[in-house]
């Protein structure tokens, strides 16, 4: 028996039923492979004795050859997801360490360490020398551009 068996295929009703042994792939892999097809087909999973049953009903009418291709594609997806699952399991510790270092590095810059010099504020407080009128020249208007708009006087000077 093939790993994934086509049980039924009926192009007139747009349905395809596959079965596979429950010991072939973990349930997570079956979920992940089925998930990939949710945009193209209605997928219903079931279990009968020692086999998973996967029922597809296409959302659009398809030819028999396309359904056969879909069965092969599902089998490919099972393999791909199984490998992905395996790689993730093998590298889970490394992934967690990398994420921990990244989060630790990001949070380290959020608050200054005790005893270190205070960082300058992003928005200076009022009364601070950076907002002092005598320094920024806002009210003294040395360039003479702060006059109010008066329509009758435009272009008179």
């Amino acid at each position: 028996m093939r790993r994934v068996q086509i049980e039924t295929l009926d192009a007139t009703t747009s349905t395809l039923t596959l079965s596979l042994d429950v010991g072939l792939y973990p349930r997570d892999v079956l979920y992940a492979a089925a998930y990939v097809f949710l945009d193209r087909a209605y997928v219903l999973l079931d279990r009968q004795d020692s086999r998973f049953i996967v029922r597809f009903r296409s959302k659009r009418p398809l030819e028999t050859s396309v359904f056969e291709a879909m069965a092969g594609e599902f089998e490919n997806e099972l393999l791909a997801q199984a490998l992905r699952h395996q790689v993730f399991d093998a590298n889970q510790r490394i992934i967690e360490d990398v994420v921990a270092v990244a989060i630790g590095g990001a949070s380290a810059g959020a608050e200054p360490a005790a005893g270190s010099a205070a960082e300058p504020a992003l928005i200076p407080l009022r009364g601070h020398s950076e907002l002092d009128d005598t320094e920024d020249g806002f009210l003294t208007d040395p360039a003479g551009i702060a006059r109010p708009f008066e329509p009758g006087k435009q272009g008179s000077e």
Partner: protein, 81 residues
């Protein structure tokens, strides 16, 4: 999946593949389009779907099953993490 008439349907979802939380969440998503009653029957959750809206362009029951599957996959993955 079976349907008696256009307004009702019965879906049997295997308990090892579909969690009750996933089914309940999917039912909540579609509550404006149909009424759902879930009960256990051996190895399956039996979902009685009634008052299915006729005004919807699409298959409410099949979409509900897709949502239940997607929710089950998500819940399973988050419980493994």
């Amino acid at each position: 999946m079976s349907s008696g008439d256009l307004d009702t349907a019965t879906v049997r979802l295997h308990r090892t593949l579909y969690t009750e939380a996933a089914i309940t969440e999917a039912a909540a998503t579609f509550e404006g389009l149909a009424s759902f009653a879930v009960r256990a029957d051996g190895e399956h959750h039996v979902v009685e779907i009634s008052a299915i809206s006729r005004d919807v362009d699409g298959d409410v029951v099949a979409e509900f099953c897709n949502f239940a599957l997607a929710n089950s996959a998500r819940i399973q993955r988050s419980s493994d993490a």
